[in-house]
Amino acid sequence: MTPLERSALNESRHGAALNAKQWLSLRLPKRLRAIPLQRFGILLCERLSKGRRPPVGSTEIQIISPPSSIIQMQRTDLLTFCRQIGIASSETIRIKRGTRSLLELYLSGLALSYVADGDVLLGSVILRAAARIGFQNVWLDQTEIHLLDQQESDGGFGLVAAESELLGDDSDLAQTRLILTVEILWALAERAFSANGATFTPSNKRRSPTALTNASGDR
């Protein structure tokens, strides 16, 4: 990514957070238990706008398995693994010597692979984990841009109308979108902090995700 494209990505994150905050603030969750999630989403938008780090847990994590073991990991196991990384503080994440670059390659390839299958939630969680470790590469950039492209005009994320209709009465489209929106915002916030540190100051201009996508696709 060129510095110009990276700057455009920063702007897109910022714009996405502003729109998402509006969507989150205007809606009243049907279920009471969704309110903390809504508030957490708003908190992430604010932190992203101010360039502040998303909340961090105190977990320590050691990654000692061969990096290739994550390729065929069951979805639920990979989700748990990445969520553990995602809440660990960067300083406490230990990676087996000599495996860092391969772990970066596989983790970023998996992020793109899962969003390719429409699994935006797991793609977001992997992206957040990769950012927490401090990984940066073109596949992570492409995954992030893909997530940004999932934002609807109302500010919420997730192109899930058809899936919700298929599920019928059991589905709650708003709840599904709330979960996806918060997961994506969390990944964007982690990426923003990872890429810029605490010094990031977004400008008021916003580039459209579509233009950004095209720019990053140029070779």
């Binding site: 061969p66 290739s68 390729i71 390839g109 793109l112 692979s113 390719a116 492409q142 893909h146």
Partner: protein, 303 residues
């Protein structure tokens, strides 16, 4: 280490094919089917590839094993009702004659099929059949290798006509796109044996795309596609990269003790014929990926 594993896997795959040679006959039933032409074509392509590898000095004991393949292929190609078909359906002649074209590459000539090729030239085939760019590349490659073209195709121009240059957002690629990728790389690399004659920016793009597709198809356990991707990456000279080695080891681990390789959990085969027994079904399900294993193994060993 990988070389040893690959050599064993390649030899086992070739031995399995040899044991199942009879199942590759064109007329398993009274009717000629697309499946049986495809299977015999792939056998002939693998045979010509192994002969090429052998003539380059590769000696893994397979050259003795595949002697029986040649007489079988010649016998099948000379079945009259099959041989006549290309003259009856010139629009499909390239596809129908693929087993013969692959044999022709190894030096074999059949007067009947040579006459068919003359007739097809007069009737302006295969050019009169419209094909998409990666299929045109496929056609040009096999005709060139069979010695049917006067001059070598312009590979760069052929590549530029395909969609590969525009595949810059891999998350949107489906199995069909992966097919375009693997088969274009087959021809541009001469099945993993040469670096494609492309500018470095394109090579870098293809490596990045190929490595992503490796991770995606490895995750999905699409072993046939994974093996084909490894052949392409071998041609792109990535055989020492960690991702190539890890994925190649994972691919080799899928091989059964008898030498056959399953296609992967998501792959489907067309409906079985009522007369097929379970051995036939197993064969039809596994032969393609077993071919891919042999291709991968001997492309990897070739230097």
């Amino acid at each position: 280490m990988l070389a040893t594993i690959a050599e064993k896997a390649g030899r086992l795959a070739v031995a399995w094919v040899t044991r199942n040679l009879i199942r590759f006959r064109l007329y398993i039933t009274a009717e000629l089917t697309a499946d049986s032409i495809k299977a015999l074509s792939e056998l002939a392509i693998l045979y010509s590839f192994l002969k090429d590898v052998g003539s380059d000095g590769e000696d893994s004991g397979v050259q003795d094993t595949i002697v029986s393949w040649e007489s079988f292929l010649v016998e099948q190609c000379n079945t009259p009702k099959y041989a006549q078909m290309a003259r009856k359906r010139p629009g499909q002649a390239f596809y129908l004659l693929m087993p013969y074209l692959a044999l022709r590459r190894t030096g074999y000539r059949s007067p009947y099929h040579e006459r068919t090729l003359d007739l097809l030239r007069r009737w302006r085939y295969p050019e009169a059949t419209e094909v998409v760019p990666h299929r045109l590349l496929d056609r040009q490659y096999f005709l060139w290798k069979a010695g049917c073209l006067d001059s070598e195709p312009d590979w760069i121009r052929q590549y530029e006509a395909t969609s590969l240059r525009y595949m810059t957002h891999p998350q949107y690629l489906d199995d069909e796109a992966a097919y375009v990728f693997t088969h274009t790389l087959f021809y541009l690399t001469d099945f993993g044996r040469h670096k494609p004659p492309l500018p470095s920016v394109e090579l870098k793009h293809l490596i990045q795309l190929g490595e992503y597709l490796v991770i995606h198809n490895w995750r999905h356990r699409q072993w046939d596609i994974l093996g084909e991707l490894l052949v392409g990456l071998r041609g792109l000279q990535r055989q020492r990269s960690r991702i190539y080695v890890d994925a190649a080891n994972a691919f080799c681990e899928t091989q059964h003790e008898d030498g056959s390789v399953p296609p992967g959990q998501d792959r489907k085969i067309s409906n079985s014929h009522p007369s097929e027994d379970s051995e036939d079904l197993l064969f039809r399900r596994r032969y393609h990926t077993t071919f891919v294993m042999a291709l991968f193994a001997f492309a990897h060993l070739h230097s």
